[in-house]
C-alpha cells in the first residue's frame, strides 16, 4: 500500500478499497482522451475495465493514430504491477440491458454516433416496473477538441457523500444547549476563584459558556451579547491572552448552528423524496445512507437536535482542561449514537457498525447530488453556447457553429494537452463518485482553454 501513500492521504484505506474493487465501463474510440482517462484511472488503482470500442472494426487496439502516446493499450495496463483486467469488445446497439449492472460507472468518450445516446435514453424510458431496467450506473460523457472540452456527469439515483472534506470544518459546540456532564465540567471552573495563571490556560469555550450563562434570560443571547460580556469582564485578563482572543474570534461557534440544521434537514427531505420516486439501481453505499437517513429522521423526531460528532477544534488550553472537555463532547456523541443505533437495529440491522459510525461522524458534512430525470439527449437543449458548439462539432454538425478566426485557430491547434485536462477531470470525478468522498460536479462543465475558464452548470 505504500505506493498509494500520497493519495491515501486524500481518501484513506476505505476509499482505496472502493477504487480497487470497482468495475468501470468505457465507451469510445481509441484516441488520446480514452488513453489518458484509462491511464489516470489505472494509476490510482482501478483494476477492472470493459472497453466498448466505437472505432472502425479493424485494428481494434493497435495504434494507427499518430496522436496516441501509448503504442499499445496494454502498455497502459502495465502501469499497475498488479493484474489489471481490460476486456475489449466492439460497441453494438443490441447490448442487453442486463449488461450494465456489472459496472459502478460508465464513461462515454468522444463518440460521434448519436444512436449510442438513443440506446441509453431508450433504456431510461422503459417502464419502471420492468425489473431488468433497474440497472444503470452513473454516466460520464466527455469530449475534447482543440483548446476546448466538456465533462457531463449524470446520476440516476441520489448520490451521497459522507466524507466531503470541507476546507474549513464546521464545529458545533452547542454551549446554549448544555447537557449534565458539560454543565458539571463548567461549574467546576469558577472564574472568580481561579488564579491568573489558570485563567490564562482555560479553553475559550469556558468563557463562551460563562457568557451565555451570565446573560439574563430576558435578553437576547447572541454573538454580540457574548462579545459585550467578554469586553466588560472583570478578570485578570490581558489582551495578549491567546485563549481570550480566541473566545472573541470564535464566539459565533457558541450557539447551536441553525443554518447547518436547515441545510441538513433539506438534504434529508430531498433524499427521501428522490428515493421514493426512483426504483432504479443504486449502489450499496447510497442504499445504506438512504436507510440511515430514514432512521435519522426518526431520531430527530424524538431528540430534536442535530447531534454533535464528538470533535472539538484545537484551542489554546492547558492539556488537562482540553482533554477533559474533549472527553465530555465525545461521551455525549457516543451516548447519542447509542440511541441512534437503537433505531437502526430495529430498522436496518444489516448495516455494518463501521458504516453507522461513519454516518454519525459526518452528518454535518453530508451532501448529495440529485438524480437527473431528463434523457441524455437533453444536452442539446443547453443554454451554454460553447457546450452546444462542442456537441455540434463532436457529432459532425459543425455547419451550425459560428466561428471567428481565433475560435477556428483554437480548434486546430494540437489538442493533446486538452485531452489530458479533460481526461484528468473525468477521472477525478470518477474517483469522487466511486469513493463517495468529495462532492462531484452537478452536473456539467465546459473547459475553455482560450480563456482558461471552466464553467460549471446544470443541464
Amino acid at each position: 500500500m505504500e505506493k498509494y501513500d500520497r493519495q491515501l492521504r486524500l481518501w484513506g484505506d476505505n476509499g482505496q478499497s472502493y477504487i480497487e474493487s470497482a468495475n468501470i465501463c468505457i465507451i469510445g474510440p481509441h484516441n488520446p482522451l480514452l488513453q489518458e482517462t484509462l491511464k489516470n484511472l489505472i494509476l490510482p488503482g482501478f483494476k477492472k475495465f470493459n472497453w466498448l470500442n466505437t472505432s472502425d472494426s479493424s485494428n481494434i487496439q493497435s495504434n494507427n493514430n499518430n496522436d496516441l502516446f501509448f503504442n499499445d493499450i496494454n502498455d497502459i495496463l502495465k502501469l499497475n504491477e498488479d493484474k489489471v483486467e481490460l476486456s475489449i469488445e466492439l460497441w453494438n446497439n443490441s447490448i442487453d440491458k442486463s449488461f450494465w449492472k456489472n459496472f459502478q460507472i460508465l464513461i462515454i468518450l468522444s463518440i460521434n454516433d448519436k444512436s449510442i445516446i438513443s440506446y441509453f435514453d431508450n433504456l431510461l424510458s422503459l417502464p419502471k416496473n420492468d425489473n431488468d431496467s433497474l440497472y444503470l450506473p452513473p454516466i460520464i460523457l466527455a469530449h475534447s477538441i482543440g483548446l476546448f472540452g466538456y465533462v457531463h456527469l449524470k446520476f440516476f439515483n441520489p448520490h451521497f457523500i459522507l466524507e466531503t472534506h470541507p476546507d474549513y470544518p464546521r464545529y458545533d459546540l452547542i454551549l446554549d444547549k448544555p447537557w449534565p456532564q458539560l454543565k458539571q465540567f463548567m461549574d467546576k471552573l469558577d472564574l472568580t476563584n481561579l488564579n491568573d495563571s489558570l485563567i490564562s490556560q482555560l479553553p475559550y469555550v469556558v468563557f463562551l459558556y460563562k457568557a451565555i450563562e451570565a446573560i439574563p434570560n430576558n435578553e437576547i443571547k447572541s454573538t454580540t451579547s457574548i462579545k459585550n460580556w467578554l469586553g466588560n469582564i472583570d478578570l485578570p485578563i490581558n489582551n495578549g491572552n491567546l485563549n481570550f482572543i480566541q473566545a472573541k474570534r470564535y464566539s459565533y461557534l457558541a450557539f447551536y448552528d441553525t443554518e447547518s440544521e436547515a441545510r441538513i434537514l433539506k438534504i434529508l427531505k430531498d433524499a427521501v423524496k428522490f428515493e421514493s420516486e426512483s426504483n432504479l439501481w443504486r449502489d450499496n453505499f447510497n442504499n445504506n445512507v438512504i436507510k440511515l437517513v430514514k432512521c435519522f429522521k426518526i431520531y430527530l423526531d424524538e431528540f430534536k437536535f442535530i447531534p454533535i460528532n464528538g470533535e472539538i477544534p484545537d484551542m489554546e488550553s492547558k492539556s488537562e482542561y482540553f482533554i477533559e472537555l474533549e472527553k465530555v463532547y465525545r461521551a455525549k456523541s457516543e451516548s447519542d449514537k447509542e440511541k441512534f443505533k437503537g433505531i437502526t437495529r430495529q430498522n436496518c440491522p444489516e448495516i455494518p457498525d463501521d458504516f453507522i459510525n461513519l454516518f454519525w461522524k459526518n452528518i454535518r458534512n453530508i451532501a448529495f447530488v440529485k438524480p437527473s430525470k431528463k434523457p441524455i439527449h437533453y444536452i442539446w437543449d443547453t443554454s451554454d453556447l460553447l457546450f452546444r458548439d462542442l456537441l455540434e462539432l463532436q457529432f459532425g454538425t459543425e455547419n451550425n457553429v459560428q466561428m471567428d478566426e481565433k475560435f477556428q485557430l483554437s480548434l486546430v491547434v494540437n489538442s493533446y494537452s486538452t485531452s489530458s485536462i479533460i481526461a484528468g477531470i473525468a477521472a477525478q470525478e470518477v474517483l469522487k463518485v466511486i469513493t463517495h468522498q468529495y462532492v462531484p460536479v452537478d452536473d456539467a462543465l465546459v473547459y475553455n482553454g482560450l480563456d482558461d475558464e471552466i464553467n460549471t452548470f446544470s443541464i
Binding site: P44, E326, D452, I454
Partner: protein, 309 residues
C-alpha cells in the same frame, strides 16, 4: 513576442522537475514536434515507491534511479524516431547558469518547492532586464496539492512575476507555540512535534528502527497526557506525514494542471493571448464540485525582483 501564428519557428523548452507534473508536461509536449525541437528536463531527485501512484514513465525497477534520466530513457525506448531532442539533467536547479537559462524560449515548472521557483524567476527577470527586453522567456509554473492546483504565467517585464505573489502563499503551516508543544499538548500532532524536536532530534527517517522508536515515544507521551490515539490511523506513515508535511498527490490533478501549463505555451506560441491584460494566474479546485478561478495578478510595485524592470 516573436511568434506569429503560422510561423514555423522551432523552440527550445526547459522543464523544471521530472516528477508527477514534470512527466505530464513532457508527455504533452511530444505531439508538438512541429514547433519544438529540443526539451531539457532537470531534476535532482531519485525515484521512490510513493511516486508511482502518479507516474507513468517509471516503474518499480526504477526505484532509486534519477528521475530526469529515467524519464528521458522512456522516450529513447518508446519513441526511437522522435524528432525532438530530449536532454536530461540530474542536477540541482540552483546550479543553472544565466547562459544556460537564456538559451531557452520557454521555461515550464512542475516543482513542489518554493525556493527553486524563486531562483528561476529571479534569473529570468534578470535576463530581461540586462538585455533591455531583447530576451523575454515566458515562465509557466504549475503546482498541485491533492485535488487543488495552480498555473502562474510570468511574461517578464509585462505580467507580475513569481515573487510578486509571494505574500499570497499560505503561511507555512500555522505554527503552534513551543510552550504548547512542550507543556500543553492537546493532539497527536503536538505530541509528534515534541518527540521529533526535543526527545529524538537525530531521528533518521529512512531507518526503520528509528521510525519504530519514534512511534513508541509518541505513544508513551500521548499516554502520559491522556491523549487518545485512533489506532486505525496512527502509525509510522501518519507520523511521517506530520513531520515531513507530506503533500497529498494524485495523478488526475497533475494531468489537469500540466495540461493547462502546456495550453498556455501553445497560446503564447500561436499569439492567441493579449498580454496587456493577461489573466496570468489560475487556480483549480476539484475537491467540491469543480472550481477554476482565473485572474490578473497585478504586479507588485515594490517587488524585490521585478519592480525595476
Amino acid at each position: 513576442m516573436n511568434y506569429n501564428s503560422g510561423s514555423a519557428i522551432t523552440i527550445k523548452i526547459l522543464i523544471l522537475g521530472a516528477g508527477g507534473l514534470g512527466s505530464e508536461i513532457l508527455k504533452n509536449l511530444i505531439p508538438l514536434n512541429k514547433i519544438i525541437n529540443e526539451i531539457h528536463i532537470i531534476d535532482f531527485d531519485t525515484i521512490e515507491l510513493t511516486n508511482l501512484n502518479r507516474q507513468f514513465l517509471f516503474n518499480e525497477n526504477d526505484i532509486g534511479k534519477p528521475k530526469a534520466i529515467v524519464a528521458k530513457s522512456y522516450f529513447d525506448n518508446h519513441f526511437p524516431d522522435l524528432d525532438i531532442n530530449i536532454i536530461a539533467h540530474n542536477e540541482d536547479i540552483f546550479n543553472l547558469s544565466m547562459d544556460f537559462i537564456q538559451s531557452f524560449n520557454f521555461v515550464i515548472s512542475g516543482l513542489d518547492s518554493i525556493e527553486p521557483r524563486r531562483f528561476i524567476n529571479q534569473k529570468i527577470l534578470q535576463l530581461t532586464k540586462d538585455s533591455n527586453y531583447n530576451i523575454c522567456i515566458p515562465f509557466i509554473d504549475g503546482g498541485t496539492e491533492g485535488f487543488k492546483g495552480h498555473v502562474k504565467t510570468i511574461i517578464p517585464g509585462i505580467t507580475s512575476c513569481w515573487e510578486c505573489s509571494i505574500d499570497t502563499l499560505p503561511s507555512i503551516q500555522e505554527t503552534v507555540p513551543m510552550c504548547t508543544i512542550a507543556n500543553n499538548p492537546r493532539s497527536i500532532e503536538h505530541i509528534i512535534q515534541y518527540v521529533i524536536n526535543v526527545q529524538f532530534t537525530n531521528a533518521n527517517l529512512d531507518d526503520k528502527s528509528h521510525l519504530d522508536k519514534l512511534l513508541q515515544l509518541c505513544i508513551e507521551r500521548a499516554n502520559q497526557f491522556n491523549i487518545t490515539i485512533d489506532e486505525k490511523k496512527f502509525n509510522v506513515n501518519y507520523i511521517l506525514g506530520v513531520i515531513k508535511k507530506i503533500i497529498p498527490s494524485v495523478s488526475t490533478t497533475n494531468a489537469i494542471i500540466a495540461g493547462q501549463c502546456c495550453n498556455m505555451l501553445i497560446k503564447i506560441y500561436y499569439d492567441l493571448l493579449n498580454f496587456d491584460n493577461l489573466k496570468n494566474f489560475s487556480i483549480y479546485n476539484g475537491s467540491d464540485s469543480v472550481f477554476n478561478y482565473v485572474y490578473v495578478h497585478q504586479r507588485n510595485p515594490n517587488c524585490t525582483v521585478c519592480s525595476s524592470i
